[in-house]
Symmetry: C2
Subunit: 323 residues, 2 copies
């Protein structure tokens, strides 16, 4: 049997019946056509995942399919946007059918669960790289922008922090990785329902890809610029939801991983105190722990406050792919 060509492979693994589709026109034309509900804005985010940087060469392709979409859906979640559809551009060293089958299985399982349809793509030969561009919709006045935080807002974070960073650290050292930590790294859960529920409750949000300290730094920088006043934050050390996979580590390591470790894809959000009851109800409704971890204030910079009230300044520089 001849090696299947590009068009056959795309058809076999990526074209699906359009029955449930929300796209007016999907794969197979020059462009996909999507309809945006009246009064809503289109939210767009793109991510490039490269072997050796965003995933290990021996990654399970099904997990990679999940993750490639998950990290993008996480951006929609952090904007409070409802998923609409995504495009996938794929550079592959070879047309490996088993790999494509597993990858597409992981991809579509998440796409179906989140109602986000594959509407277009591009496949080429090259060093393994994946580019997903995701599209969602949100009424613009309800979008959870990074620049909306104000002094006095509570800071909240979903889920638990640090497990993905522990997995990265262990993998890089060639040490065994606890299964729970590996699952957090390989199969992050985009917090789409949380983002939708936070419309009207939160004033600003970001998803944690670079680490809490660095990502909070982005919110503070943009919100300060938008508000025209310096903004900072105090985080309560005792309130940080450190992942149970880190229980065996020394206390300082646990806090360092929770604050500096990336790849958790939880949501960090700022909300006025009046939203507390609504946020607590939301957490109960969607079955997700939401921890109130600190407060935005008018003092520049980021501080970690111990139980005795002593404040330590934190470096807000985040992980940088070019350093």
């Amino acid at each position: 049997m001849a090696a299947p060509g590009e068009f056959e492979l795309i058809r076999r693994f990526f074209e699906r019946p359009a029955a449930a589709g929300r796209a007016r026109l999907g794969i197979g034309d020059d462009c996909a056509l999507l309809d945006v509900p009246g009064g809503e804005s289109l939210a767009v985010s793109t991510d490039m995942l490269v072997e050796g940087r965003h995933f290990f060469p021996d990654v399970d392709p099904e997990a990679l399919g999940h993750k490639a979409l998950a990290v993008n859906l996480s951006d929609l979640a952090a904007m409070g946007a409802r998923p609409l559809g995504f495009t996938l551009a794929l550079a592959l060293p070879a047309a490996d059918e088993a790999w494509l089958e597993a990858f597409s299985r992981g991809l579509f399982a998440l796409a179906d669960a989140q109602g986000c349809e594959l509407v277009g793509g591009d496949t080429t030969r090259g060093p393994l790289a994946l580019c997903v561009t995701v599209h969602g919709t949100v009424p613009p006045a309800l979008a959870l922008r990074r620049d909306g935080a104000r002094a006095g807002d509570d800071l909240w974070v979903s889920g638990a922090l640090g497990a993905a960073a522990l997995a990265v650290e262990r993998r890089l050292r060639g040490e065994p990785v606890p299964a729970g930590a590996l699952a957090r790294l390989d199969r992050p859960e985009p917090r789409v329902a949380l983002g939708l529920g936070l419309r009207g409750l939160a004033r600003a949000a970001i998803d944690l890809s670079d680490g809490l300290a660095g990502d909070l730094g982005h919110v503070l920088a943009r919100s300060s610029a938008a508000a025209g006043v310096p903004l900072g934050a105090a985080l309560e050390r005792g309130a940080l939801p450190v992942a149970p996979e880190l229980d065996a580590l020394p206390e300082d390591r646990r806090i360092a991983l929770a604050l500096g470790g990336g790849d958790d894809y939880e949501l960090l959000f700022a909300a006025p105190a009046a939203s507390r009851p609504g946020i607590e109800r939301l957490g109960a409704t969607i079955g997700l722990t939401l921890a109130r971890i600190g407060r935005i204030d008018g003092e520049s910079g980021l501080r970690l406050v111990a139980r005795d009230g002593a404040a330590t300044p934190l470096d807000v520089r985040s992980f940088d792919h070019f350093r």
Copy 2:
């Protein structure tokens, strides 16, 4: 001076004042926010460009910046969509400032000329790969889909064909490339104004990236499926607008390059005979040669018709990146 980090590089070369912007929210948040005019659909297309496959390792980065956006704008043109904004995901082996400066210059020159704003992006270290996802808008009833061609339609093509393929061939052989042919390969002109002008005149369109024969094959396959009847096409050999850069080649080579060579990014479109005067006026208005090269008919397959009326069957298989 310390090597600049990712965020600094992005800011320096890719963040621009939002003054003229059509995006509600651009670079720097989890998602960009774009507004789609009422009654219009969003048109989306994505392309991944990889070194060694889509461009030569010694490509001029300014030309690459142009081309990365041009090939995507060409997809919007082929849908009759008006450019709105684009995202860029970039994997780079190193944070090379001179490279980024030239690349962004080429990119923004075209983006500004076409009113298509950079609204989001992602930068990472890795083997050089570029993923552009472009967004445009079009009233859905006027979209130039691939599946709208019908028996009796004229077939038209813009510009001239084969020069880009000649440049590829010469480059691969290490032979000198005529300047005109190199310009066609490195700096394709997306036919956006043509696509907009063809709204209401053409019934189907595609941009020529794989070659006339193969791309026409896509139109025939989709239009046949949509019409529920077999469709084919007869092309008049004497009507094919072969690029002047091919003048010195034997006649058969010229025709082969015009029919099979990719990378021209001209538009191929099908239109009823009643549209002829409108199409001719359009070509004169935008200063672009539009050649009527054949006709869609009810006989399966693609035929090349010589001046004496003799018809030769053509293979419609297009260039395939995985063969």
